[in-house]
């Protein structure tokens, strides 16, 4: 068989692109530290693995997982029984992998999880590529879209931490199967869509909105096709598979499915975090965020060109949809919210983004640490950026000079993200736009995850040879948990003394605080300490080290 390289060059380019990213991830994996919630996630996985293996009768697995879970102790970690409603889609399989592969070095367990999380993210980016190529039938645009999807600095940095970008990945799969189902109308895709909806709900409870949005789309489709009975049947099949999947993949529901499912929503208000957060140089309660909170964060922590393209794309589509809305005719199939599969895809992206945004706005979602909890919105934002680029491309296609100019623009757009990823490495998840002043940038929350802890301990090891070094923490970050990123023999020399500053030789400080640090002096560094080091990237101060005089 003869291979036609010219015909398959796009496939090779994609393959090369993914191999490059995987290699980069593999070799730079251990540059970042362990984040503060990893211990909880490991415990969550082992706890539920122990429960599942007991229910299924795998006594050996139950004993090992129970023992491993009981070994996890930390004075700053709450009992898993108090927070047992958290999803298990990633935590449980990785806990099983830890036991199956016999990994005993905790550091290796965490970095394996980082790598798996990034791999899932890359897989979801391929699903996004497939959505784009089907919508625009243009390799260049689809490739640019996929590149932006992966390389948006904050998203790239967070993709290793199996939290919010993991949800983004599962939501991408969910929408991918939704679109596939709507196009092919097959039972297989409907089941896959319901399965991934269940996974998404397992990871983030607010994605319970998806079934409602699906019903809404099917109702509109019924107006177009007049197949009401058939569509009701589809909704019922979807809902049955959705609830069955939720039940199967969420062991928390096994004991009492209906009561525990209701409890997930009832406990939302109680379990949601209630802290002060640093926003625009002031400490505000995360329960009463200003209306512009989300939009402000999106603008200051995403690349400018990407923001502009998104705003233009969303604005143009909104106008188009409004035009369509006012032309809707009761009797004409052609005068509806969309015409054809391509416009249907645009509408679905618009519907999802707007509904989620409205949900967060109206219910005053208690966000914290920037827009981390809504990183999934980046998926929709990139889609609208590509949408506007497609419109420009169609206009310029016949004007070769302008077309070349557009290509140069696309190169700049993508190259900037690669530059930012390299510049911020391994702190891409703390990316800020450059147009803000240094004072302004540091007036927003920084290293919430405490990923700089590894760098901090390594720095102290370099400047201090003592066998016992006492460190105080002028921050809400549980620095103690970051020790697990170090070799076992290195860990033992550090003694973390919390806010007992007088006992310490060094103080670690970043701008994360759960109290109003302007009024509350809990995290104020005593005057007998002097700053000896500051870790900065661009204008952002990641952390500072103070030493006793």
């Amino acid at each position: 068989m003869k291979l036609n390289f010219n015909k398959q060059k796009n496939t090779y380019l994609l393959l090369f692109f993914y191999l490059l990213l995987l290699s980069f991830a593999f070799y730079s994996l251990q540059d970042a530290g362990i984040h503060i919630e990893e211990k909880f996630h490991r415990l969550n996985g082992l706890y539920w693995l122990s429960y599942v293996s007991e229910v299924l009768g795998f006594s050996n697995l139950h004993d090992i997982s129970s023992e491993k879970a009981s070994e996890i102790s930390d004075f700053s970690l709450s009992s898993v029984i108090l927070y047992n409603k958290y999803g298990i889609i990633f935590d449980l399989p990785t806990a099983f992998l830890e036991i199956f592969l016999g990994i005993n070095d905790i550091k290796s367990v965490y970095y394996l999880k980082h790598f798996l999380s990034f791999s899932i993210f890359l897989l979801s980016s391929f699903a996004f590529y497939k959505i784009l190529i089907k919508r625009y039938n243009n390799f260049l645009l689809s490739f640019v879209g996929t590149s932006l999807f992966i390389t948006t600095p904050r998203i790239f940095g967070d993709s290793f931490f199996y939290k919010d970008v993991l949800f983004l990945s599962f939501l991408t799969f969910t929408i991918y199967f939704l679109l596939k189902y709507l196009k092919k109308n097959s039972l297989k895709n409907l089941i896959l869509f319901s399965l991934f909806t269940a996974f998404s709900v397992n990871l983030r409870i607010f994605s319970i909105l998806i079934p409602f949005l699906f019903c809404f789309i099917i109702i509109i489709k019924s107006f177009q096709t007049n197949e009401y009975r058939e569509n009701i049947k589809k909704i019922l099949i979807y809902l049955i598979f959705f609830f069955v999947s939720i039940f199967i993949f969420w062991p928390y529901l096994w004991a009492s499915p209906i009561n525990n499912f209701i409890d997930l929503f009832l406990s939302l208000n109680k379990d949601l975090i209630d802290v002060k957060i640093l926003y625009n140089q002031n400490y505000i309660s995360n329960r009463t965020l200003p209306n512009g909170y989300l939009l402000n964060w999106l603008i200051i922590s995403s690349p400018i060109l990407q923001n502009l393209l998104f705003l233009m794309g969303y604005f143009f589509y909104s106008i188009r949809l409004l035009n369509r809305y006012f032309k809707i005719n009761e009797n004409s199939v052609y005068n509806d919210l969309w015409r054809g599969h391509r416009e249907e895809t645009d509408f679905i992206f618009f519907l999802f983004l707007s509904s989620f945004y409205l949900l967060f706005l109206v219910f005053n979602a208690p966000l914290y640490n920037g827009w981390r909890l809504v990183y999934f919105m980046n998926f929709f934002m990139i889609y609208f950026s590509i949408n506007i680029l497609n419109l420009i491309l169609i206009r310029f296609q016949k004007k070769s000079n302008l077309f070349t100019l557009l290509k140069i623009f696309l190169i700049i757009l993508v190259t900037y993200n690669y530059y930012a990823i390299i510049k911020y490495h391994p702190y891409q998840s703390l990316y800020f736009n450059n147009f803000l002043s240094e004072k302004k940038i540091n007036g927003f929350e920084g290293d919430y995850y405490g990923i700089s802890s590894k760098d901090f301990f390594e720095k102290i090891s370099k400047i201090d040879d003592d066998n016992e070094i006492k460190i105080a923490v002028a921050s809400h970050t549980p620095l103690y948990r970051g020790l697990e990123a170090l070799e076992l023999k290195e860990r033992s020399k550090f003694i973390i003394v919390g806010q007992e500053y007088e006992m310490a030789k060094y103080i670690y400080k970043n701008n994360i605080s759960e109290v109003d640090s302007i009024l509350n002096k809990k995290y104020e560094v005593p005057k007998n300490f002097s700053k000896i080091y500051e870790k900065k990237i661009g204008k952002l101060t990641i952390y500072e080290i103070f030493k006793k005089n």
């Binding site: 309660s285 706005l361 005053n364 109003d516």
Partner: protein, 87 residues
């Protein structure tokens, strides 16, 4: 049916937004103000200020001006005598 459905959706969305930017906005503003003024940290600051003021008063030789002291003395005596009369 189709037009009715679409119009209902639009009205629902507009209602949600109007509610959020009027009543919701006002209630959030009040909560935020209460949170800010009556927070544990703000109360602690107030307590500290009162303590500082008391300390200053104790340390000063004459905290109240002589005229004010006379007036206060007269006022307290007056209250005291009134209370005695109506025992």
């Amino acid at each position: 049916m189709k037009l009715f459905f679409y119009k209902s959706i639009l009205i629902f969305c507009l209602f949600l937004l109007a509610f959020h930017f009027s009543f919701g906005y006002a209630s959030k503003k009040i909560s935020s103000l209460i949170n800010e003024k009556l927070s544990k940290d703000s109360i602690q600051i107030l307590k500290d200020k009162i303590k500082d003021e008391l300390k200053t008063a104790v340390e000063k030789e004459n905290y109240i001006k002589p005229d004010d002291a006379k007036l206060l003395n007269k006022f307290l005596n007056k209250i005291k005598s009134d209370l005695e009369k109506n025992k």
